[in-house]
């Protein structure tokens, strides 16, 4: 701790719903998070992966619905935590309705190549909040700064 105040406000990115921009968002948000020395390298890697998964979900939703609208990512460096918000204009989803995958020991598990993105988001962030409405989906990822 050097006494410096890193709660310096909001950064916003607006990207086309194109796969090429997912890595850009991951890199930029990771670099922003790294400004704060209270977040370990491991947690920055967690954050980059969780953001990447959430933006990938938004990209897929826009692609599936053939939406031209941009995906908006906000990173809020507030006191004691980093909050990242991913906004898309897709039809949304209920995280409680994501089907469970077969157990790892079940040979059927190998027939499921997708379906772990949201569980990764939930595992990696300290808190995940999903708000879905007629105007799209907002996924908020919260990373506490005192968590390693």
């Amino acid at each position: 701790m050097n006494g410096k105040d890193y709660s310096s406000g909001m950064v916003e990115l607006r990207i086309p719903a194109q796969a090429e921009y997912i890595q850009l968002v991951r890199t930029v948000i990771g670099e922003i998070a790294a400004i704060n020395p209270n977040l370990s390298l491991g947690r920055i890697a967690d954050l980059r992966l969780a953001v990447s998964e959430a933006v990938t979900n938004a990209y897929r939703e826009h692609t599936r619905q053939n939406l031209d609208a941009q995906i908006v990512v906000r990173c809020d460096l507030t006191k004691g935590k980093i909050e990242i918000e991913i906004n898309d204009q897709g039809a949304g989803f209920n995280p409680n309705e994501i089907p469970d995958l077969p157990n790892a020991e079940d040979p059927e598990r190998l027939n499921h190549e997708s379906g772990v993105g949201f569980s990764l988001i939930r595992e990696l962030s300290d808190e995940t909040i999903v708000e879905t409405g007629k105007n799209g989906t907002k996924v908020r990822l919260i990373f506490n700064l005192n968590n390693g």
Partner: protein, 95 residues
């Protein structure tokens, strides 16, 4: 998502050529997401369907932890070096 399609294409080509006991070296991988995991799961399914196997060289704890978060550490066999993975195949073949 970046290199997953290329990996998938390469695995399919190798399996079609009859190479079914594969080693995937993740040593230089510094980022793995769900799309990458999906590709690796698909690769394992393809080789297993031909009575083969896919061993992973994964010395990076960070990358291995992503498999663990998805319970996939119970599905794959991990090795620290490619030599260890090759030796594992030799052991299998000598049984």
């Amino acid at each position: 998502m970046g290199s997953s399609p290329q990996l998938r294409t390469k695995i399919i080509r190798l399996v079609n050529e009859g190479h079914v006991n594969l080693i995937l070296d993740l040593t230089s991988v510094d980022f793995l997401d769900s799309a990458g995991l999906g590709t690796i799961i698909g690769a394992l399914r393809r080789v297993r369907s031909q009575n083969g196997d896919l061993l992973l060289v994964c010395p990076e704890e960070r990358i291995q932890s992503i498999f663990m978060l998805c319970d996939l550490d119970k599905v794959f066999k991990f090795y620290l070096t490619s030599n260890e993975a090759v030796d594992a195949y030799k052991g299998i073949n000598s049984l």
